[in-house]
Amino acid sequence: MARSVKAALVLCMDVGFSMSDSAPGLQSSFEEAKKVIRKFVQRQVFAENKDELGLVLFGSDGTKNPLADGGQYQNICVHRHLMIPDFELLKEIQNDVQPGSKQADWLDALVVCMDLLQKETLGKKYERLNIAMLTDLQSPVSDDQLDTIIRNLKRAGITLQFFLPFPVDVEQSGMGGDEAGGDGPGSKPLPHGGKGLTREQQQGLKLVRQIMTSMEEEEGLEEVYTFSSAIERLSIFKRIERRPMAWPCQLTIGSALSIRIVGYKAVTEERIKKTWTVVDAQSHKRDDVKRDTVYCLNDDNETEVTKDDTIQGFRYGSDIVPFSKVDQEQMKYKSEGKSFAVLGFTKQSLIQRHQFMGSQVVKVFAAKDDEHAAVALSALIRALHELEMVAIVRYAYDRRSNPQVGAAFPCIKEKYECLLYVQLPFAEDLRFFSFPSLENNKKFTASAEQLSAVDSLIDSMMLMEEDGGEPQDIFKVNHIPNPQFQRLFQCLQHRALNPNAPLPAMEPWLQAMLERPQVVTARCRTQLQEVRKRFPLTEVVHKKEQKTSADVFGKGNAEEPEAKKSREDEEDEFSVAGIAQGVTAVGSVNPDKDFRALVRQKSIPFGQVCQELTCRMEQLLGTKNPHYYSKCICSIRAFREESVKVGNAEFFNSYLQSLKRSVPDRGLQYFWDSLVHDGVMLISKDEVEGSTVTKEESSQFMTTAEKVEAAAPVDEEDTGDVDDLLDMM
């Protein structure tokens, strides 16, 4: 309900000496009150609204207020005038708010606050003026002005809240324990070791009750809180609130019937208002970082071109069509402005819940203060409700936005009635996949025991508690604050106050909120065990995350079983077989083995053998047939291994470099990727002395290629984040 334009609030805290008293093991009222203030200010800082805050301390050693005159209004200090709260204020609260050694009349302090509020809000518009009084009511009070004070509060429209160490009805219920004004159990033991209230406190309470009830009648007492319950409530950061924007429009049925309506976004995924800015790591200045975008041609030199030399284009299947922004604007679909036009009516059952589109639900009411429109819309809502139908409408937010087709559901509540509008899919949005049948598949059909195990599991895990009459939902997701925001604010706040400390751990209450409720966890334990027993579940262990080229190419390729054999086997095999066969040249059937054999024979110079091999590989790669790729990979491996053994890196390295250069032109990217996968790299100094390549360069040589490869699909594909998608709408 806080549709606040802005509010002004004065925190009025008692720092008098009695506040510092505490029972052993318990925090003093002063510490508790300070915590309430701190938490409250923190929330306000992150809520980022325009609410202004002032802080008045009383019982302080000094006196600083405009009313102080000749012994009156002493020991009351206006610590901060009305301002938007910031971290400066938080720091002041932390450091400067200290217990005083005096006492001051809390009614006097109230008057100072009223004066502050009235003077500083003059001429400006506020939706709400409020004073929050935090005190233990220990100071002596003169109540002769009480009636005037109450009258003035009422006239100025100032509301009042009290925060006390004990519940307001402590007197009546004896020693506490009862509800403190609708405020949860007043679980906190009384101060001063449960001694009961002092005379001052009893008189104070009487006054508090008198003030509150005269201002708000019975409900007034609901604005009196205990410190502990306030701290509890203030731990959760404020829910993000936005002022709903009214969207006035006409609901039309045909050309002749129109109803004045107004729509409000009712449900939509809320995002944090602020985004991260990139700053320089040293200076923390945003202006030190400049983002620079360059365009370059897809040639060897990556020639840069200016933005003016570029034009926008779109893919149309295999064609790329140049299509300038101007042309696009001119030729694009033009919507005719806002609309909420009924296309027809259909059965509610034909609208599938899982086909809801878009990111919002709009509630549509009749135009404000137009009772005829209200009656007309009501007739439609009730007609649809009784017939169990919905209106299919064309919805366009305004002239610039894309039209939608959606369903308007009738929604009748106790207090109001409206239409609920949800977007429905276009034909282009649907994907028709067929899945194997589950229900008719005997392999997956559960036995009677299995079904009953699931049945009792569901029973034990129901999130509805039958508490007497109405079943209560014990896990209302729509009451849970978005944990993302809570965690973000927690970290931001921590970092703001402790700039050098690491981020804090997650708050336990936040973690707990996201878990299965404890009652349910306890209740379903045996049922879960039963399910575990009845349903055998085994995780399939995957051999390897990374595939080698052999896995890719070798699959279903019966001619190449050798590829899978281990290297040692191969070596043994060829050393015998190769020599026995008397290899004379690198053939195309087993180039790698021929190569190895020739190198061992040493009848031809190493360089020549390498050349023969590379020629053969070029030939194989030239076919562009993936079937031959595995042969080439084996050959390259053999090439590398033998080169290392011989101690000559030159041939291998220069070949690999030239191969890399030719990859884009020859369309061998896939082959190259396989090489990378297999860990083939340049021969480095560490392996062969004569090499000019360091180990880093060697691995980098391959990774640079990987980057190019990894970047390419990102550019090509429209991998818009969901945020982008939503922004576009």
Binding site: K125, P248, S318, L424, A427, M461, N478
Partner: protein
């Protein structure tokens, strides 16, 4: 399960990510889909149906066209080919096969191809086909061989290969066993290389008998329990399109996760996108002189020193309460981390607890992954059956990726549904519906307003009944997208003007008025007083703007400085209108971030009272 995974084992680890929020970058694109239409061009295909029904050939061409255009929109990288068999003329690489006409070889479809297919439609198309293709003897074996050559000529990696045969002849070789055998052998070879062969059989007088010949040609059904053979031939274009579409789109899991029931009981599920807003593809930047695409690189520089900044040279910052708060980039990611990716079951609720207005995102669909955890399907099916019987849904915590905060989702059971042709309309599985958090629900001011009486409601019911129709989710095309692609088509083919689109989102006002007749007036008489104008104030305001044809002219209003100062002193700035205040802000160089009146007033007051 095993059946449909057999062909794709290689892609286990790098399944293509669908566009959208889940694209995590861990996966990479694994190849392209391909589809070959093998169409019978025999005389029988050109026989007109009774009652002027289109010929089987015509229907096939329409169907091919719709696949072409939808490919262009949804997956332009996929390859499609169109081959005719039983033609008189032959056209294929090296012309080694007689009576086989490769109309389009395997390539991604473009505007030209769509036009070429168009030219084969209708009466004219039949004439052109007779001229260009002609009808001749049939050898399906040669045709299949030719198709397999098409596949082997492709250098790209194909992730999915499908071949669809369109014919109305169940015994194409008239019992010639030699031809039959060669066709079977060739079909076997194709299937051996991972090509899935489907039969789209069309109406044949006397019925199409799949068992005569084609049962040996086509790929076995993906699921042994399913009735694989479409025993009923397609008589209607709509059915044919539906059937082709269902077969043609290959499903890909967006991600595969564990669904944990607690206490270490996990099943594996795949998440699928069954519905996702289709958007215009992103524009590509081209070099003006050559129209070749250019690469865009973004780099960060230091403003003062001009040095290149690495990601590690920057931090992230936000300002709250006048204080700059700085975090490392890693910390920004880390604070979004809650759980490991997965679905965690919280409990169950009756379906009535899932409110209509609990909607923030389009849904996903989950289906068991037997490949990851064996036994998943059985438990999944049992859960599905029980949830559906008892009318409950499951509430789960869903973490899609490592550094993504959790969301709660409802898993709503869905049973499998088949249409009268035994085609799957909806698969069995759970729909995953995203639930809103407290922050996502806005507080609205609701006011009580008068309600209608039963007479008014009854009259509205009559109106509603008159305008009833049967909603189908695929009935509306997106006019914005359609227009965009028509524009591109026109530009690509040098057409003078883009083909006009039919905007299905517009109400058919004349038809509606005609149907309603006097009902509207009767209803208005019941709810509106005689002098009431439902167009109200807003309409009068809008009219001049419409007449002006777009650009609204904002009235230029200025206030003198003296006047403003007077207003400030008296605190009466609020009497001025927002445009005036904005103008004043500009005048005095007041920077305004807000557009709300109070914000403008505040900043002006601040400036002028100094």
């Amino acid at each position: 399960m095993a059946e449909w995974n057999a062909y794709y084992q290689n892609e286990e680890d790098n399944v293509e990510q669908e566009e959208g929020e889940e694209s995590s970058g861990d996966y990479k694109y694994s190849g392209r889909d391909s589809l070959v239409f093998l169409v019978d061009a025999s005389k029988e295909m050109f026989i007109k149906g009774e009652n002027g029904e289109p010929t089987n050939f015509d229907m096939t061409m329409q169907c091919v066209r719709s696949v072409y255009t939808s490919k262009i929109i949804s997956s332009e990288r996929d390859l499609v080919a169109l081959v005719f068999y039983a033609t008189e003329n032959s056209k294929n690489p090296q012309d080694s096969f007689k009576n086989v006409y490769v109309f389009h070889d395997l390539d991604s479809p473009g505007a030209k191809r769509v036009q070429e297919v168009d030219s084969l439609r209708g009466e004219k198309g039949a004439k052109l086909a007779a001229q260009m293709l002609g009808s001749g003897p049939t050898s399906l074996g040669d045709a299949l061989w030719c198709c397999s050559n098409l596949y082997s000529d492709i250098r790209l990696r194909l992730s999915h290969k499908r071949l669809m045969i369109f014919t109305c002849r169940d015994n194409p070789h008239d019992g010639d066993s030699g031809h039959d055998l060669s066709a079977r052998t060739k079909a076997g070879d194709l299937k051996g290389t991972g090509v899935v062969i489907d039969l789209m059989h069309l109406v044949k007088p006397g019925g199409f008998d799949v068992s005569l010949f084609f049962c040996d040609i086509i790929s076995p059904p993906e699921d042994a329990e399913e009735l694989g053979l479409q025993l009923e031939p397609c008589a209607k274009l709509e059915d044919l399109q539906k059937r082709v579409r269902a077969k043609e789109m290959r499903k890909r899991a967006q991600s595969r996760l564990h669904l944990s029931l607690g206490d270490g009981v996990h099943v594996a599920v795949g998440l699928y996108v069954l519905v996702r807003t289709a958007t215009k593809p992103a524009p590509i930047r081209l070099y003006r002189t050559t129209n070749e695409p250019v690469n865009t690189k973004t780099r960060l520089f230091h403003m003062q020193t001009g040095t290149l900044l690495l990601p590690s040279d920057t931090k992230r910052s936000q300002v709250y309460g006048n204080r700059q708060i700085v975090l490392e980039k890693d910390e920004v990611d880390e604070l979004k981390k809650f759980d490991e990716p997965g679905l965690f079951l919280i409990g169950f609720k009756p379906v009535s607890r899932l409110k209509l207005h609990h909607h923030i995102r389009p849904s996903l669909f989950i289906f068991p992954e037997e490949e990851m955890i064996t036994g998943s399907s059985c438990l999944f099916t049992a859960l599905l059956r029980k949830c559906s019987e008892r009318g409950v849904f499951a509430v789960c915590k869903y973490t899609s990726r490592r550094n993504t905060p959790p969301r709660f989702v409802a898993l709503v059971p869905q049973k499998e549904e088949l249409d009268q042709n035994q085609t799957q309309v909806t698969p069995a599985g759970f729909h995953l519906i995203f639930l809103p958090f407290a922050d996502d629900i806005r507080t609205l001011d609701v006011h009580q307003s008068p309600t209608a009486n039963s007479m008014q409601i009854d009259k509205m019911k009559e109106i509603v009944q008159k305008l009833r129709f049967k909603y189908r989710s695929d009935a509306f095309e997106n006019p914005v997208l359609q227009q965009h692609f028509r524009n591109l088509e026109a530009l690509a083919l040098d057409m003078l003007e883009a083909e006009a689109i039919e905007d299905l989102t517009k109400p058919k006002v004349d038809l509606m008025d005609q149907r309603l007749g006097s009902l509207v007036q009767e209803f208005k008489d019941l709810v509106y007083p005689a002098d009431y104008n439902p167009e109200g104030k807003t309409a009068t305001k809008r009219k001049p703007a419409e007449a002006g044809g777009g650009a609204e002219k904002k009235p230029k209003v200025e206030v003198s400085e003296a006047d403003l100062r007077a207003h400030v002193e008296k605190g009466t700035l609020g009497k001025l209108t927002v445009p005036v205040l904005k103008e004043a802000c500009k005048q005095f160089g007041v920077r305004t971030t807000g557009t709300k009146k109070q914000e403008l007033i505040d900043s002006l007051t601040e400036k002028l009272s100094k």
